[in-house]
């Protein structure tokens, strides 16, 4: 299994590919079914955000280790308009895209670590990590 891989996130079909690759990595790392489902669902939300709000970008998968534990880190990056108010964007139910507004907040809840960097006009990078 590679330890670092970057996938394009530009179309609805790419979201399906991201889900499948994240699933196979999660299985490889030894995540149980619920953990797999959570990280795959989080990946699906963030991949869709990358397309809908960022105009497309990339998904990077990294298998990470910290002492004895292993985990999966996912980084979604776009060069879109960025997010002006991060606190607002992280609120449940807040949406500018006509969705349910659960993408970011939901992905955060489904991960163990969550980090977001966004600059208006430059883009957004969201990193999540789930530990086994």
């Amino acid at each position: 299994m590679p330890v670092d891989e970057t996938l394009p996130v530009r179309s609805s079909h790419d979201i399906v590919i991201v889900r499948q690759v994240v699933r196979s990595w999660a299985i490889e790392i030894g995540f149980n079914l619920v953990e797999q489902t959570k990280i795959v669902t989080a990946a699906s939300e963030l991949a869709r955000n990358t397309i809908d709000h960022g105009g497309g970008g990339t998904a990077r998968l990294q298998s990470v280790r910290d002492g004895g534990r292993s985990g999966l880190r996912l980084t979604f990056e776009d060069k879109g308009p960025g997010i002006v108010d991060l606190n607002l964007a992280l609120k449940d139910g807040y949406t500018t895209g006509g969705g349910l507004g659960l993408g970011l907040s939901g992905a955060r809840r489904l991960s163990n670590e969550f980090d977001i960097v966004s600059r208006p006009g430059e883009g957004t990078r969201v990193t999540i990590t789930r530990w086994k």
Binding site: S12, H13, I15, V16, R19, Q20, R23, L33, V34, Q36, T37, K38, V40, T41, S44, E45, R48, D92, G99, L100, L102, G103, S105, G106, R109, L110
Partner: protein, 128 residues
């Protein structure tokens, strides 16, 4: 074009989602189902999601939309077969599928649909 088949069984429509749904497929299903409800005069829609490995907010919204649209068209929707891991994840994601009726399997889903029609004289408010 790729499509999810919709089967007619008496006054009900049955859909079993067997593929990893991409967004366009989900939208097509939504359109096809509403058209079929009207054309077939369906009174109920049963959606089997036992093959779905995840339900994200997009698919969740689609399911909610189908339930809402069919209600407006005088049909009930029941979602059956959700996997336990999917249910756990959905709730943590923050989606509780309000307004969507669920059953554990197809048999129980059909029972629920029949019961909701069984009220007679057009009064179908068997919900809760």
């Amino acid at each position: 074009m790729e499509r999810i088949p919709i089967l007619k069984m008496n006054e009900f429509l049955l859909v079993s989602i067997q593929v990893d749904m991409h967004d366009r497929l989900a939208m097509t299903l939504q359109d096809d189902l509403t058209e079929r409800i009207v054309r077939d005069r369906a009174r109920g829609v049963l959606i089997d999601i036992s093959s779905l490995e995840i339900v994200d907010s997009f698919i969740g919204r689609m399911i909610g939309n189908i339930a809402a649209m069919s209600r407006v068209l005088d049909a009930e929707t029941v979602v059956v077969g959700m996997r336990p891991a999917v249910a756990i994840t959905l709730v943590e994601l923050g989606l509780s599928l309000p307004g969507v009726r669920t059953s554990l399997n197809v048999d129980k889903g059909m029972e629920l649909l029949r019961a909701s029609l069984g009220g007679g004289n057009g009064h179908r408010d068997a919900r809760r």
